[in-house]
């Protein structure tokens, strides 16, 4: 590859991956069958857009199956005042990725991706909540990384073997005893966020004890997303549930935990108050970070049936295009749209120029049942509040926070 026999893009990509691997002491490359790759201008910036376009123009083709994440522009970008110049950049990036052979799946929830890696398989699913799912739930192996690494792995079909690709780095480090019954879906956000906040150093893999063996995907996406908002662990174990942790001993590889945490109801309640209410009025309700599962949409449709969202409140749900047929067929889309809400099957609010939305378009006071949204939107000049789903729905109808 280095000699250029596979073309300029592959040569360039392998040169980058060698530098990255050498820095982290990787001794070899592993072949990968699949990648998950971000598809947003927000994460790429102009420099990333130019790079992707250049590689596409040089005839680059992905050697691994590349599943693309959500983009910046919802189907209704013009209706909510998004700028043409921003939309153009998004569409250029999408075109370039399509040319490289990326699948425009617009998804950020792992189980809805096209090609799932198997137990023990090496892959490169660098996005934070994708990586944590792949490592923890599937027992496949990936590092967490940014868009540059993802791009280069997809082009070469290889990744340097370091970090979470190696057995010794996958063992649990911190014992998390969950001494609280998780009553609502958003309690899983609160749990993940609280634990992630305590484990900000790289490699601090938590081992949960006291969680149920089988977890609804609607709860799972919340735990995954919230753990990675602050956290950088890229992986967790649940004793008796996830594949590398049949027992506590397996999870820690026979070693002692470096630290122990006990999570109580008090800790979770504190997360609901972590984002202070400055103003009861609401401009925007958003759901879907990571993307909303279909059973959550069913629940939301049930609560919205025959009712109207307050005219001053924008109500946006982000989900994956793979659910579109089901959401329409079941009548959920019509109920939500009749109530005044919007669904996007491709865009994430985090990428939808949130600073511009807040400062220029007045979407400032945001209510969300997804703590990862709340976490990131603070940095864009928004005032997020995190509440359970029923509170979000009732507040959207009332036009102000109810509960």
């Amino acid at each position: 590859m280095l000699a250029g026999e596979f073309g300029q893009p592959v040569k360039r990509a392998i040169e980058y991956l060698i530098k990255l691997g050498e820095f982290f002491g990787a001794e070899e490359f592993v072949d990968i069958r699949s990648c998950w790759q971000d598809c947003s201008f927000a994460m790429h910036h102009e420099v990333g857009l130019q790079l992707v376009e250049e590689l596409a123009a040089q005839g680059g083709k992905f050697r691994a199956i590349a599943i693309m994440g959500p983009c910046d522009m919802p189907e209704w970008w013009q209706e909510i005042g998004q700028r043409e110049e921003d939309a153009k950049k998004t569409f250029r990036l999408i075109e370039a990725y399509k040319k490289l052979g990326g699948y425009l799946a617009y998804t950020c929830i792992s189980e809805e991706c096209i090609e799932l890696p198997a137990f023990g398989e090496h892959c490169h699913w660098g996005g934070s909540n994708l990586a944590i799912y792949v490592n923890s739930v599937l027992g496949a192996r990936t590092n967490v990384a940014g868009v540059g690494t993802g791009l280069m792995c997809a082009i070469t079909g290889k990744t340097p073997k370091f970090g979470l690709h190696l057995d010794e780095n996958r063992l649990g480090k911190v014992l998390v005893q969950v001494d609280v019954e998780l009553k609502s879906l958003t309690d899983w956000d609160a749990l993940g966020y609280y634990v992630g906040m305590q484990l900000r150093e790289y490699g601090m893999i938590p081992v949960f004890q006291g969680l149920p063996k089988n977890i609804l995907e609607g709860a799972r996406r919340r735990l995954d997303g919230a753990l990675m908002a602050y956290g950088t662990m890229g992986m967790y174990h649940i004793v008796g549930s996830t594949p590398e942790a049949p027992t506590l001993r397996d999870a820690f590889g026979g070693r002692k935990p470096l630290k122990e945490l006990v999570v109580t109801r008090e800790n979770l309640d504190a997360m609901y108050n972590y984002f202070p209410v400055k103003d009861k009025k609401i401009d925007l309700v958003i759901i879907g970070c990571p993307q909303t599962e279909v059973d959550e949409i069913a629940l939301i449709a049930d609560m919205l049936k025959g009712r109207r969202i307050h005219p001053d409140v924008a109500f946006w749900i982000n989900t994956t295009p793979k659910f579109k047929h089901l959401i329409e067929e079941m009548g959920y889309a019509k109920i939500i749209e009749d109530a005044g809400g919007r669904i996007t099957y491709r865009a994430c609010v985090l990428w939808m120029t949130p600073r511009y939305l807040a400062e220029k378009l007045g979407y400032r006071r945001v209510l969300t049942p997804d703590i990862k949204y709340a976490h990131y939107l603070v940095g864009y000049g928004m005032q997020p509040v995190f509440r359970p789903i029923p509170v979000c729905i009732e507040s959207a109808i009332a036009g102000e926070l109810r509960g």
Binding site: L20, M43, E46, V47, G126, G127, V144, G146, G148, G379
Partner: protein
């Protein structure tokens, strides 16, 4: 003039310039405005300073994968530091440094935050993992 040599782990390339030293971690998402290179977080110890064209010394990068293209974008528009020295570099900042062509070193044999002061003249040879500090 007193010279100090530090040895550690590096990416690739060489850089030199005047040091700007933080005793804290740094987020290229929320602490720094990438468009100007200014530190905009009021609670950060470099608040109001510019990282542009400096040899930037800090503990470690905060934040996740979003860092990875922010630093190359800063390099493209000319607001990036010339070199980065960390106590321990995290994967996103290493990715960012390689992508942006900014030499980075970490895991030095002495704590860079203790040895290097703002205003010192610093040369980085990232291929060799060597930092040369000329005290001002």
């Amino acid at each position: 003039m007193k010279k100090i040599i530090l040895r550690g782990r590096g990416t690739t390339g060489k850089a030199e310039g005047v040091a700007l030293v933080s005793r804290e971690s740094m987020s290229f998402f929320s602490d720094v405005d990438y468009r100007t290179g200014k530190v905009v977080s009021e609670v950060h110890d470099l608040y109001g300073k510019s990282v542009k064209d400096t040899i930037l010394v800090f503990r470690s990068a905060k934040g996740g994968t979003g860092t990875a293209m922010r630093i190359p974008e800063m390099a493209r528009i000319g607001t990036a530091p010339r070199g980065i020295i960390n106590q321990v570099a995290n994967p996103p900042v290493v990715e960012a440094a390689i992508m942006g062509g900014i030499p980075l070193v970490d895991r030095l044999d002495q704590d860079p935050i203790e040895v290097i002061e703002t205003g010192d003249y610093v040369r980085i040879d990232a291929d060799a993992g060597i930092v040369e500090v000329e005290k001002r």
